[in-house]
Symmetry: C3
Amino acid sequence: MYVRDMPDVHPTALIASSARLAADVSVGPFTVVHEDVEIGAGSRIGSHCSIGEPTPNAEGRALVIGAGAHIRSHSVVYQGSTFGSGLTTGHHVTMREGLVTGLGLQVGTLSDLQGRATIGDYVRLHSNVHIGQLSRIGSFVWIFPYVVLTNDPHPPSDGHHAGVKVEDFAVIATMSTVLPGVRIGARSVIAAHALVRRDVEPDTLVAGVPAKSLGAASRVQLSDGSGPAYPWTRHFHRGYPPELVSEWSAAQGPESAS
Amino acid sequence: MYVRDMPDVHPTALIASSARLAADVSVGPFTVVHEDVEIGAGSRIGSHCSIGEPTPNAEGRALVIGAGAHIRSHSVVYQGSTFGSGLTTGHHVTMREGLVTGLGLQVGTLSDLQGRATIGDYVRLHSNVHIGQLSRIGSFVWIFPYVVLTNDPHPPSDGHHAGVKVEDFAVIATMSTVLPGVRIGARSVIAAHALVRRDVEPDTLVAGVPAKSLGAASRVQLSDGSGPAYPWTRHFHRGYPPELVSEWSAAQGPESAS
Amino acid sequence: MYVRDMPDVHPTALIASSARLAADVSVGPFTVVHEDVEIGAGSRIGSHCSIGEPTPNAEGRALVIGAGAHIRSHSVVYQGSTFGSGLTTGHHVTMREGLVTGLGLQVGTLSDLQGRATIGDYVRLHSNVHIGQLSRIGSFVWIFPYVVLTNDPHPPSDGHHAGVKVEDFAVIATMSTVLPGVRIGARSVIAAHALVRRDVEPDTLVAGVPAKSLGAASRVQLSDGSGPAYPWTRHFHRGYPPELVSEWSAAQGPESAS
């Protein structure tokens, strides 16, 4: 156990004997890969990480990291989660057991995913995002720094927890708190530094403490006057697969400016 | 100096010659235990930690960690603090010098205890909590993610600092800021995303920016109608010693539903 | 490559062959110093750091750390930034490429500098500060915990980003969010837990969500009645060079109480 001779594994890295790494996976110095871990082809693990951190809560489930992952230094990923291919993380990230995520998840530096949550495809979490247990996040969601998705309506309690549901293409801006059980509708936008206590309808902009509706998100205009800012798929395509972008453009019809 | 042959110390861990570890303490890979550290029986230290980080501010005082501690990976604990038995931490925690804490303290991932503070028994800090210097936290307190306890009334200043006082059984919910010198009364509840500028009376619920009283905390009902949510000792007992729970139940009288 | 025999480099540290360290630099256990790094005389690097983290975005620029730096454990500093002498950081800090900073920068534990930003002389960032790309921070600025400087007016977008500008001697208190393109005037004070959407004039105190002016910052009095709290240079001098303090005192005239 511990220490494996593979071409791209740094000699100081410790790899458990039962870990299943594709032949071309690279692992940085001083990283530990524990038992019951599977890492897909082409993945890169940075220095000082703990991958497959053991916990009895994983109930024997492995950690499965899909192909093409890039996990940056000082990150901790627990046993018992499954990540689709194309996972990218920043530094100092913590991701606990019971996560099931889709393709192309991006998790920013210092983000803390508490586990027992589902995340769809191509979700992007910026730095220092806190995802409480029981969260259900759709696809193409953006969450910005210092956002907290909570789950306990009268903390501390047991048996009353309800996760936040964030629907496809929704955006939650910096320093917003979402209370337990709230549903953030598709294509909606939560402005910065808001406290969201009630459900937000699809395509709605909300702001404030507590958050109130300011109207349709799709009425927000880009600051250069080039068209609507939301849904962001009209103008922002960086890093998404070309076939998705074509699909989005087609859905928007001939008036699309993108 | 550095490198010690003990059965549960990983061979890559570095243990200072003067460190006093009980015989059954386990230490993970790539962890450094510095001079002037005492760790009690049955404790577990994760990987990539720095335990007993030196500082002149410790003025020669040792770091004392009571029995049964569990410190998770990438945590930094300074010289010059004393932790009662049963300490548990998440990952990436920083705890500076001059802390004196009671039994069973839980400190969540990414929390930052700035030192020179006192904490009572069975306090639970969730992820990413910031405890400023001079804080005085009672027993059975709960503090949730992204809460900051401040201490400087006109930053930056010297000689005007005043810590926050949090009394027994109080709860501070997510993303709240407590201003310097404020006293949070016993069994009170600070709602999420609040700015607390004034003292909060015992058994009081406050919310908002700035925070205002919404009445007695003990009037908040559990969402399933099973009774009062506060004080939480009526319905939440997970992880507390049975004798304490018995004491709480007795104090609540025959109408208690727990 | 990797592993260098220098008197103050811990034997477990890995130092790239091309890294240029002054002869008296100390490096802690399990730290990695990558290629294209220059570290000035008298600097101390803690344990478990990654210094000169490679990124294609650095476009071949080195990481230059001036003399007398103290970088604490678990910090990550990218290629492609230049730090003036006297840099001090806390633990678990991340500083990305494209930063250009002046003398005596202090960066607190868990702070996240996203890169592509300028910072003047003697700036002090407390714990857990988030500096977005394109920020322009003057000299003698103070930023307190959980402050976020943003840059995207309708996230996510491309080509519309505008950094925050913070002028000399300004203070931003805990848990405040500053929206894109906002200018924080010289000697102004942002109170805790504020949302700053509009420019703040010099010497102005603002507070609230959204933030509103409460008048001149220089009218705020120290709580002991000893005089004005702002500009803080009137009463707070800890850690600044004596010649600067003399200059500040002279500028304040004979009525200065400091």
